[in-house]
Amino acid sequence: MTAADGAGPSLVHQAVARTAERFPRATALVHRGSRVEYADLHRRALAVAARLAGQGIGAGAVVPLCAPRCPELVVAQLGVLWCGAAYTIVDPRWPAERRLAIGDLVAAPLVLAADPGQDWGGRPTLPLTAARPPRAGAAGAAHPSAAAPATEVDAGAAATVVFTSGTTGRPKGVVLPHRAVTRMFRGAPPPGFGPGHAMPQGAPPWWDMYSYELLGQLMTGGTSLLVDGDYLTPGTLRRMVRQDGATTLRLTTSLFTLFVDEDLESFAGLGTVLVGGERLPAPHAARFLRRYPRTALLNAYGPTESCMHTTTHRVRPEDCADGADIPIGSPVPATTVLVLDGQGRLCPPGQTGEICVAGDGLATCYLGEPELTARAFAPVEVGGASVRAYRTGDYGLVDPDGLLRFRGRRDRQTKIAGHRVEPAEVEAAARRSPGVRDCAVTVVDQALALFYVPGDGPGGPAAVRHDLLSRLPRPLVPTIVRALDRLPLTPNGKLDHDALATAARTPTTRTRSTR
C-alpha cells in the first residue's frame, strides 16, 4: 500500500513562505479574537530568525519552545526553522524534572520561554516575545527578506522533536524531519485544508497532531483557529463555526464520541471531521453520518514515528453496522504500509501481522537512543529491495477491499484520551516514590489506574499521586490510585486484571485530595 507525493516545497518554513507569497492578506491565525495575516506571520518569523541566528543558532541545534499555544509560539517555530535548526515544544506546566531532562537530551543551546524566569538548569532563556516584531526602523523590519538567514538544510533535516511516552522511564524524543511534516501537504490539499478552510487547533502543542492541524493549514493557505486554553469544548466549537468560519475539525476518538454523546449539533457547519488515536465505535460514527450525511468523516491512524497520519479512511454508512470494525484505510501521500508476519514476510490479504510503515513520514531516530532506534526502524526486505520501516507494535490486516484494519497491540502500550501511555514509564516513576514498594499500572474504565503495595515511606494514595505529578506530565498521572496488600495474580502467575478492575471500582476511604 503506497501513495505518491506532490510537488510543493519539502521544507516546512518554505511551504509557509510560499503561502505568504500567494495569499499575503489571508488570515493565517486567529487567537482570542485577533487575526494574524500571512504576510505578518512571515515577517515576524524572519525577524525572530535573524535574532536567533545572531545568538549562533543554526543547523543541527534543537531549541526548546516553552509556551502554551499562541501566535508568538507559531512565529518562534518558523523562526527556528528559518535558522536551519529544529524546535521541541515543552508544556510550561510539565514538572521541572522532565523539563530539565529534555533540555539535556536535546543539548539546548538556549530556550525560548513564555516565562523566561523559569528554571532551565542554567541554560540561557530568552522571552518568547523576542518573537515580537522589532521597532519600526530597526534592522530587519523594513526588508525582512534581507535579514533571512541563508542556512540551507535538506528535507531530511530535523524540524521538530516530539516527546512521547517511553518504556524506559525517560522521556522519548522522536526526531521528525521536514519531509515527514510536509509530505501530505505538497500536492493538492487534503480534504478540509487550503484556502477557504479554517480549523480549530486543539491538539496539545507538544504532540505531532499539533503540526497536522497548524502547519497543515499554514502550508496550504487555510486558517488555524488557536483554541484558548487546553480543551476544545462543544460550546467553543459552535462559536468557532459561527464566528470564525470553521470548516474542518480533528478530534481524538474519545473526544469525538463525547461530542456525539453530549452535543451532536455542535458539528453543524463543518465539512470535514477527522477522528483518530483509538478504535472508532461504530454506533457513534453511524449517529454522526445519519445527522451529517454530506460531511466527510475520516477515520485516521498513525503513530508519532510516522508523523501525523499514516492511513485514513472516509467512513461510509455501510462501515458502521452494529459491532462493525471501521477500517483505518489507505496510506496518506508518500507513505507505505506493510503488514508483516513473524518472519518479516508480507502477509497476504486477510492475514493478521504487524503494521510496519515506510516512506517520508518516518522519524529520523529516537534522540540519544541508538539501540532503540535500530530495533524500531530496522530495514525490511520487500520484493528484493531493502526499505527502512518502523515497526509500530500494532497488529493489523489488509481486508479484501485493500483497506487496513486495526487488530490490537503487541505490548502493553495503551491510549488515554487519545494519547499514548506506556504503563512501564508510569510504573518506573511510581517505584521511585518512597511510599511505593511494588506497583502495576493498567487501564480501568478508560482511566489510568495505579495499584501499589505501600513501602516503608510515608504517604497514602493521594500522596503517591501528588508525588507522580512532580515527575510526569498530567496525562501520564493515574487518576485511580489504590493501595493493596499485594498485587493480585492469576493461578499461572500473571497480573490478575479482573481483580484489579474490581479493586479500582471499589471506592477508597475518602482522603482529601492534594492533587
Binding site: G235, E262, R512
Partner: protein
C-alpha cells in the same frame, strides 16, 4: 417548578461521576475524576444552563461545592 442552577449542576456532576448525590466537601479527584469526565460535565452544563465553561474551571475548583457555586455565580452574572 424551575430548578436552581445549583441543583442542575449538582445532578450533572453526580450523574457523570456515577454517584447518587454529591457531597459539596468532596473533591472531583476523590471520585477519580478524569479530564474527559470534566469535559463531559462542562459540555452538559453549558447545554443545560448556557454558562460557557472549560474543564479547567472544574479541575482548578475541584471541591464540588465550590464548583457548583462558581457556575451559579456565572449564571446569575449572565442575568439568568
Amino acid at each position: 417548578m424551575t430548578r436552581s442552577t445549583a441543583e442542575v449542576v449538582a445532578d450533572i456532576v453526580a450523574d457523570v461521576l456515577g454517584i447518587e448525590e454529591i457531597d459539596p466537601a468532596d473533591s472531583f479527584y476523590d471520585h477519580d475524576g478524569t479530564s474527559l469526565q470534566a469535559l463531559r460535565i462542562c459540555a452538559r452544563i453549558e447545554r443545560a444552563t448556557g454558562v460557557a465553561l472549560t474543564p479547567v474551571d472544574l479541575l482548578d475548583n475541584d471541591v464540588l461545592g465550590d464548583f457548583v457555586a462558581l457556575v451559579s455565580a456565572r449564571s446569575a452574572g449572565d442575568g439568568g
